[in-house]
């Protein structure tokens, strides 16, 4: 059921965009008001989530390690998978954020001949990585609509992306990759009963939303076509705080825009916030040096203690007059340090 609810919500958003794009009032709301609301929600929500994480106590060093810890000089340490220095942590985080290092370890569990078999399963890693990089490329390519003059790196990215020069406007590889990867990620949730069982509304919603955004974008670029000049005028107007609902943009454009606004405002309040959260995961971003450095919990409450020597000193006369043996020798100075076993 989760997947059906998620699909229905996404379709409702798209339908609202399609319908609104045909009314002049709807166009004003969709092009002049909602993008600002979404941008504010996104930025404020994002900062709020990061602030909450920044103030969460991390009293212990809890890195999850995947290799030999640094010990004797003659035992080779895994400097990146079990980092003991900040540089190691930096390399580990880079591998995590740019290459999804830990997802690469994803394995599949099967029962075969009565044995539990864990086999490598790179498909999830590959499609997740392909999807994220393609999405980044698509985001950066959209800068051509928001910046005037268009920076050279955006043009270079576009040329790279349309490398095969298929058709006009030429096919972007990132468009193919993003839809194929999202399709795989979605099918994976449907196909594997175990994954399907644990999939929630939010798991499907993000996928359907991104898929709907990609499909409307592809429709505009390759099929229904759109006046890019008008889109750029709207985008520049939004950036200059002088938005003007454009004329002559088809309803698909407004559906695309509303879906993007929905994604932006949903992101900080959902699992998609892993975009910022990955930087703050204490199991990854701390050095495993708790054997070489002492980490004192800064939130330790000062505990009032009463040691045995202190206790003996307090009751020494009473103990001695009752004939109970005392541990600390006569005249041993300050009782606090003279602990005997």
């Amino acid at each position: 059921m989760n997947e059906i609810y998620a699909l229905l919500v996404v379709l409702a958003i798209a339908a609202a965009g399609l319908a609104g794009g045909q009314m002049s009032f709807g166009r004003i709301a969709l092009a002049e008001v909602i993008p600002y609301a979404a941008a504010i929600l996104f930025l404020a929500g994002f900062c709020w989530r990061i602030m909450r994480w920044a103030w969460a106590p991390v009293p212990f060093h809890i890195p999850v390690t995947c290799g030999q810890q640094k010990s004797f000089r003659w035992i080779r340490a895994a400097k990146i998978d079990n980092p003991s220095t900040q540089w190691g942590v930096l390399a580990r985080m880079a591998a995590e954020i740019l290459l999804f290092r830990s997802l690469f370890r994803n394995s599949r569990a099967q029962i075969g001949g009565g044995w539990l078999i864990l086999s490598e399963s790179g498909a999830l890693w590959l499609s997740a990585l392909a999807f994220h990089w393609a999405l980044l490329l698509i985001l950066l390519r959209h800068l051509r609509l928001f910046l005037e003059p268009v920076p050279a790196f955006v043009n270079a990215l576009e040329r790279l992306d349309s490398f095969f020069q298929l058709g006009a406007p030429p096919l972007y590889l990132s468009d193919v990759v993003v839809i194929a990867a999202l399709g795989y990620l979605l099918i994976r949730r449907f196909r594997d009963p175990a994954v399907r069982f644990i999939s929630l509304f939010t798991d499907y919603f993000g996928l359907f939303l991104l898929l709907a955004i990609s499909v409307t974008g592809v429709l505009m670029r390759y099929f229904t076509r759109i006046d890019v000049l008008n889109v750029k005028e709207l985008a520049l107007g939004l950036a200059a705080m002088r938005p003007q609902a454009p004329q002559g943009l088809g309803p698909i454009f407004f559906a695309h825009l509303l879906l993007v606004c929905a994604l932006a405002s949903y992101l900080p309040f959902s699992k998609l916030m892993h975009m910022g959260g990955i930087f703050l995961s204490p199991t990854r971003n701390l050095a495993n040096n708790s054997r070489s450095r002492r980490h004192i919990n800064p939130w330790n409450h000062p505990v009032k203690t009463h040691t045995y020597p202190e206790w003996e000193k307090e009751f020494r006369e009473k103990l001695q007059s009752a004939g109970i043996p005392v541990e600390i020798a006569e005249g041993a100075g300050d009782a606090g340090n003279a602990r005997t076993n």
């Binding site: 268009v150 076509r225 006046d227 000049l229 930087f279 703050l280």
Partner: protein
């Protein structure tokens, strides 16, 4: 406490990058549409102007298919006029590549259609005297 500084620096960089278009536009003067030079002695394009704006690239590819695959070079426009299906002869017969096509493409971030690797611009080839 020590790490929080880094978190704030990272967050500030992210917010600055996300809002870059705002600063970029405000730093520049107003953003106008490109200043396109239209043919002086002509009123109509080979299709209605709004269609041309949206879909001239698709039309060019259709023309190419027709010419190269089917040997069909005759195009009857919406207003009944007959044109040759040709990028250099027809489009650049009325339009200037530099002051029309290129200006709009630069503005829209279309990184220079590669068509000009083979197709020539009559205005540019006069001086270079190539066929």
């Amino acid at each position: 406490m020590r790490d929080r500084v880094w978190i704030f620096i990272g967050l500030a960089v992210f917010v600055a990058a996300f809002t870059a278009p705002f600063w970029h536009v405000h730093a520049k003067t107003s953003a106008r549409q490109p200043d396109l030079v239209l043919p002086a002695n002509q009123k109509e394009c080979v299709a209605p102007a709004s269609t041309m704006r949206d879909a001239h690239m698709q039309m060019l590819l259709n023309w190419r298919e027709d010419v190269v695959r089917r040997g069909d070079r005759r195009y009857v426009a919406f207003d009944g006029k007959v044109y040759e299906k040709s990028l250099t002869h027809t489009c650049l017969g009325c339009h200037s590549k530099a002051a029309f096509c290129d200006r709009c493409h630069e503005y829209s971030g279309v990184s220079g259609p590669y068509c000009w690797n083979c197709h020539s611009d009559p205005q540019a080839t006069v001086t270079r005297s190539r066929p």
